[in-house]
């Protein structure tokens, strides 16, 4: 592996094995691995094949890249991390995090992010992460304060709760934009930073409507003095708009990403988001009916136990375990579908200039992987978790493809934006918030 790495390590030579010397366009949908080499091999020797192979003689073995071969137009991401190595990193990170009551988690987060980025390669070059642990720590303190404020405010008074919602609406969009900026501006490839060009005013325009809808149920419940109908209506509207909100935020995240002077773009996919949410919801609902039945039994038995009939305790325990198991199954069925399909939609609608993206991630293999990860993690009292993280990262990363009409090496011609500094976006350095979107 290492030796091959070296032989390939020229400008733009070789992406993944499948990418090879391919001139043919690989088409989404991303359901399966591109079979470009096979298609090429099947061509009979002749002018067409010679043309496709460029200057290279058709008798040469196609699998071995050589300097004369035309630059790739299709590239897969590669992942070189290993569970055993990450296990040791995780153990040390976790111990220090626990021993410092969570303070070290910022340093742990940076090390973890660097581990996964540096082990991710595109066109033979690794990504890198430059975020400062102290910035992550400040971001975590801010996020924790807001979270604690929000969860406790309603315990004090309705007015405090509403004030906290107002605070969240004021700082939320700004924090969201800062989080994107921190994440992207601290990530680099080929020594050039990614970036996020979404401004503050735009952040409010994009993020405020979803936040307002999301909180409308709570606000209605408080303001309308617990008039159930109004709060329920607001809740239903909010839930019905979740795919729309998710799409709105995701589209903005991707549309405002930059790499050097290259702007990313995002093609609208609201209908796709709704489809994925709908099917995943139906899967969850189907399994949920079973869970609910077991839950009713468990709750009834639990009430029996509270009021003192001993045999009910055992029934409650069994009912509880059954509903937990069913919940696991439901989550294992719905989540991989949701995650895989959504990723596929998001990436197939993302562009970076004339570079297109796609992911071959699919529900079934993802589901199998997640099921294996969950079972082994439970069976090893959590020790498998770092191996699980690496396995999941490998699958997700190696499913990614970048494709372009122009040779991908053109990416290397990206340059710094006029206003930027080579050492990165100073404002993005101040603090980093994790917002899991």
């Amino acid at each position: 592996m290492a030796a091959r790495e070296d032989s390939r390590h020229g400008e733009g030579a070789g992406g993944g094995d499948d990418a090879g010397p391919d001139h043919g366009r690989w088409q989404p949908p991303a359901g399966e691995r591109p079979r470009v080499r096979g298609a090429f091999d099947e061509l009979e020797p002749g002018p067409l094949r010679d043309e496709l192979a460029g200057a290279k003689s058709a008798s040469q073995p196609l699998a071995a890249p050589d300097p004369a071969e035309p630059p790739a137009r299709l590239a897969r991401l590669q992942f070189t991390g290993e569970g055993a190595e990450y296990f040791r990193i995780w153990v040390v990170n976790t111990l220090l995090t626990l021993a410092t009551l969570g303070v070290y988690s910022a340093w742990a987060k940076v090390r973890k992010t660097r581990y996964f980025w540096q082990n991710t390669r595109l066109e033979g070059y690794a990504f890198d992460f430059h975020g400062r642990p102290k910035a992550v720590l400040i971001g975590r303190v801010i996020a924790l304060a807001l979270l604690a404020g929000y969860s406790l405010a309603f315990e004090f008074s309705s007015r405090a709760g509403l004030a906290m919602i107002a605070v969240l609406c004021v700082v939320g969009p700004w924090l969201f934009a800062r989080a994107q900026r921190f994440k992207l501006a601290n990530t680099s490839w080929r020594g050039l930073r990614f970036g996020f060009s979404g401004g503050t005013a735009e952040a409010y325009r994009i993020a405020l409507p979803p936040m307002a809808i999301w909180f409308s149920g709570t606000v209605a419940a408080v303001v309308a003095d617990r008039r159930a109908a109004l709060a329920t209506l607001a809740g239903v509207v909010a839930v019905a708009l979740v795919p729309w909100m998710h799409h709105r935020l995701k589209a903005w995240q991707h549309a405002r990403a930059t790499y050097g002077d290259r702007n990313f773009a995002f093609l609208p996919a609201t209908a796709g988001f709704y489809r994925v949410y709908f099917v995943a919801g139906a899967l969850l609902l189907g399994a949920g009916v079973g869970v609910a039945l077991a839950g009713v039994v468990a709750f009834g038995a639990l009430l029996g136990a509270v009021f003192g009939r001993g045999e009910s305790a055992a029934a409650a325990g069994v009912g509880f375990l059954v509903s937990l198991a069913l919940f696991l199954v439901a989550a294992l069925a719905a989540w991989p579908y949701f995650a895989a399909r959504l990723q596929a939609i998001v990436w197939s609608h993302t562009r970076a200039g004339d570079v297109r993206f796609a992911t071959a991630i699919a529900p079934w293999p993802l589901g199998k992987l997640v099921a294996k990860n969950v079972l082994l993690t439970l069976a090893t009292a959590g020790l498998y978790w770092p191996f699980a993280s690496v396995a999941l990262a490998r699958y997700r990363i190696e499913c990614m493809r970048a494709e372009s009409d122009e040779p991908l090496v053109a990416l290397a011609e990206s340059t710094l934006r006029g206003t930027q500094d080579a050492s990165g976006d100073a404002a993005a350095d101040a603090f980093g918030v994790d917002i899991g979107l």
Partner: protein, 338 residues
């Protein structure tokens, strides 16, 4: 004669890289490309911790970067010879023995935190939670229970008022200044305490008890939960377990992260029951009531029912035998301790 490594030098202003050869020689890193040779003191470089299968990333002064290929993993040794030793954390995580030792310490720390640390922390956190917040928590729990499952008490008003009066007087003597409120509801032989001082007494317990002393004994036990703020501490402890679990396995699986939480909820029940029993014994003595009444109540309750799931008065862990043993010891011991 010095070892060299292949690297790509990026100027940070464009994605175009330049292939260079890197050599390390006496605290100096030398970069040689076709056009020129650059020299940097190692001290002015930012050399990132490198991983087994990843290139080593170096930031040069001015923001240019080097991506050094090191398939044979020889760069680290060369840097060490030049006086650049990796940090302690990096050395720990590169070494299996050290990492496994860290794992042992981690497990030990978790076990200690679970058994000793978390209860201490919960006590400290609970002591700063305002009484008002606690009362609100209790009220909302009772509201939910009333709406879902609890029915009004069927006791004659005179009877419940007599119990309430006797308990209020005893509580004022035993725990002056502690806000406590008695709520009567229909239900089996049981009672439980909510955060903020509400004690719910079920009709069944009043009917099962042979004397008012026995009822007051049960209420003394619940008063113990109130005085020690057990339900709030329990709540904080469960939150603590959840926080640690999400630190360990967060963003992976909420189920994996929640499993320890369920175990935690049951583990702490016993400690608190024991504390409340001890409080009940002192409570009986303070008020000149026979401690034996607790023993006879336990015996009657044991006959009537099996195991309870929630930490409440009639819970069987610690086992009734053990509880009765302690109560009998206390009643033999005689004179009031407080």
């Amino acid at each position: 004669m010095t070892a060299t490594w292949a690297a790509t030098r990026f100027d940070g202003r464009s994605g175009a890289g330049e292939i260079v050869a890197v050599a390390i020689d006496g605290g100096v890193l030398r970069l040689a490309s076709r056009q020129r040779v650059e020299r940097y003191r190692l001290a002015e470089l930012r050399i990132a911790e490198s991983f087994e299968h990843a290139p080593t990333m170096v930031v040069l002064p001015g923001g240019a970067t080097l991506e050094i290929r090191d398939p044979e993993r020889t760069l680290g040794a060369a840097l060490a010879v030049a006086g650049l030793r990796p940090s302690l954390v990096v050395r720990l995580q590169r070494n299996w023995a050290a990492a496994l030792a860290c794992l042992v310490v981690l497990v030990g720390l978790l076990a200690w935190g679970y058994v000793n640390g978390l209860p201490l922390l919960a006590r400290a956190v609970t002591s700063v939670i305002p009484a008002d917040v606690e009362r609100r928590m209790g009220e909302s729990v009772l509201e939910v229970l009333d709406a879902r499952s609890l029915k009004p008490s069927g006791l004659p008003l005179a009877r419940s008022q007599a119990i309430a009066r006797a308990f209020a007087a005893a509580a004022a003597r035993s725990a002056p200044g502690v806000a406590v409120r008695l709520e009567f509801r229909a239900g089996p032989a049981n009672a439980f305490a909510l955060p903020g001082g509400a004690i719910v007494l079920f009709d069944g317990l009043v009917k099962t008890a042979e004397s008012d002393d026995e009822v007051l004994g049960a209420l003394g036990h619940e008063l113990g939960h109130v005085v020690h703020r057990h339900s709030t501490r329990q709540f904080v402890q469960v939150l603590g377990v959840a926080a640690v679990a999400s630190l360990l396995w967060g963003d992976f699986s909420s189920v994996a992260a929640n499993a320890p939480l369920l175990m935690g909820a049951f583990r702490y029940g016993r400690e608190f029951e024991r504390e409340a029993d001890e409080y009940a014994i002192a409570f009986m003595r303070d008020n000149g009531m026979p401690v034996e009444a607790l023993d006879s109540l336990f015996a009657r309750l044991e006959k009537e029912r099996g195991a309870g799931l929630l930490p409440d008065f009639a819970t069987t862990h610690p086992s009734t035998a053990e509880r009765r043993e302690r109560v009998r010891d206390a009643s033999r011991g005689g004179s009031p301790t407080r």
